[in-house]
């Protein structure tokens, strides 16, 4: 599973970080770090929830297998 980060859409709501700080890291301004995220096995659910919390739709979920979200 991968999270594609659309950096230019990030407006610094920091909801992804509030939801799943183990997956999403912020820069000093409080915006998402640039670069896509390879989600470690076992953390798919946290990554999914964090991506879904973005008001700007700046986090795109890729290669997500539903059964791994348990």
């Amino acid at each position: 599973m991968k999270i594609r980060v659309v950096k230019e859409k990030c407006a610094g709501h920091a909801r992804c970080w509030a939801q799943s700080p183990e997956i999403y890291d912020l820069d000093d301004e409080g915006y998402i770090l640039d670069g896509d995220i390879d989600v470690p096995e076992g953390q798919e659910r946290a990554a999914w929830l964090g991506a879904k919390s973005c008001p700007e739709r700046a986090l795109v979920i890729e290669d997500y297998k539903k059964d791994s979200a348990a």
Partner: protein, 407 residues
């Protein structure tokens, strides 16, 4: 001003205003946010010919998805709307709100670190102590209170003074300005704006002369695009903090506490599980946001076939997007544990509320400490607060009582 421009087709004109009509006028027991939810039964975009305090028409964007598109496109939909021009007789843009990208980015990058989620954590203890002191004072006075005057405004102003590095002894003075600016007659508002601007100019002068460890010193010593910060820019930044950080937070506390007073079972739930407060604050921000985002078309454009001309005002009411059934299942039900709550109380796009992380913590601290210290509370004598619509929705006289009836 309130005539309909030629490019607006008659079928998109709607008799609507944030200032008149059901729920919008000041009224006891009103529900201005809920009153606008019915807009989702109508067209997604319409034109309201008389929809500002000074009589301008605006387009109104109803759906969350459309508001997101508008607010993310700061190039087409400018945020420079000359908020202070009328009161001052000249334009003094509040910064960064009234500066568009790309210039906007430099100001934001400068200020973002001061209000980032991690930085806000460092302010937590002082802000919590402030809330506790106010609540303990209220408790010592008796079994009732008026939330706005005794808690919400003093708390929000206290946090603001702390952030600005000003002594708390100035609280009463700031409260007076805030009251006039947000709730006064048009003349009083103008006067309050001029007073705040003059104050910020004095503060700029002082911090250029005598630097300290505070916000304004940081601002006047900062460089934008490699050059010195001008007085006008520094004043515009200070003024925005005042305009954006006081009334909004106070009103949110008022709406939150009214909701809890009317729903004692939710109070009990949160008292038993205080870790639920953070999510509850988000849901109440979704249900009762107060801000309407306004943009001005910077050029002629078309939005889903609708012609919009340069200079047209575009209004994105957060409280309407937050009740969009396509965005939020069962939007008119308040579920304090609502998951995936991507509300727009702090706007979308590059102008996302700079103070959102601080505001969130202020609201959570207020609720946590209040529930911890005040037993089950209710609206005093069952009298509901007065609410109103307008450019910023509000609530007045939130009178609460607890235990044996009040003073």
């Amino acid at each position: 001003m309130s005539t309909v421009p030629d490019h607006v087709p008659a079928e998109l004109v709607k008799d609507f205003s944030y200032f008149t009509g059901p729920g919008m006028c000041p009224m006891r027991g009103g529900d201005p946010q809920g009153a606008l939810a019915a807009l989702h039964d109508g067209p997604p975009v319409f034109y309201a010919p008389n929809n500002t305090y000074d009589g301008y028409g605006t387009w109104v964007f109803v759906r969350a998805e459309d508001q997101r598109r508008v607010l993310q496109d700061a190039e087409t939909f400018s945020s420079h709307r000359k908020i202070f021009e009328k009161a001052l007789g000249y334009d003094l843009p509040t910064i960064p709100l009234e500066v568009d990208p790309p210039e906007h980015g430099a100001y934001r990058s400068l200020l973002n670190p001061l209000l980032s989620p991690k930085r806000v954590m460092a302010m937590e203890a002082a802000n919590r102590a402030r809330a506790v002191e106010l609540i303990e004072g209220i408790k010592a006075r008796g079994n009732d209170c008026e939330v706005m005057n005794e808690f919400a405004f003093p708390f929000a102003v206290g946090v603001f003074l702390e952030f600005l590095g000003l002594p708390q002894s100035r609280r009463e003075e700031f409260l007076g300005w805030a009251d006039k600016q947000f709730h006064g007659t048009p003349e009083e508002r103008g006067e309050a704006i001029r007073t705040v601007i003059a104050f910020m100019q004095e503060l700029v002068d002082l911090r250029r002369r005598e630097p300290a460890e505070d916000f304004m010193t940081f601002v006047v010593q900062a460089k934008v695009d490699g050059r010195e910060m001008t007085d006008k820019e520094a004043v515009g930044m200070g003024a925005l903090l005042f305009v954006a950080g006081l009334d909004t937070v106070a009103a949110a506390i008022g709406f939150d506490f009214r909701y809890l007073a009317e729903n004692p079972e939710q109070q009990e739930k949160l008292r038993a599980e205080p870790q639920g407060v953070v999510l509850a604050v988000e849901e109440l921000l979704r249900a009762f946001p107060t801000v309407i985002m306004t943009r001005i078309a910077s050029r002629d454009t078309e939005y889903d076939g609708i012609k919009i001309k340069a200079g047209d005002r575009i209004s994105c009411p957060s409280m309407v997007a937050n009740r969009d059934p396509q965005e939020f299942p069962d939007p008119n039900t308040i579920d304090l544990a609502r998951p995936n709550n991507r509300h727009v109380a702090f706007a979308y796009g590059p102008h996302r509320c700079l103070g959102s992380h601080l505001a969130r913590r202020e609201l959570a601290i207020a609720m946590e400490e209040w529930l911890k210290r005040i037993p089950t509370f209710r609206l005093k004598d069952g009298v509901a607060p007065t609410t109103y619509g307008g450019h910023v929705f509000g609530i007045e006289d939130v009178r609460l009582a607890w235990g044996a009836a009040g003073r």
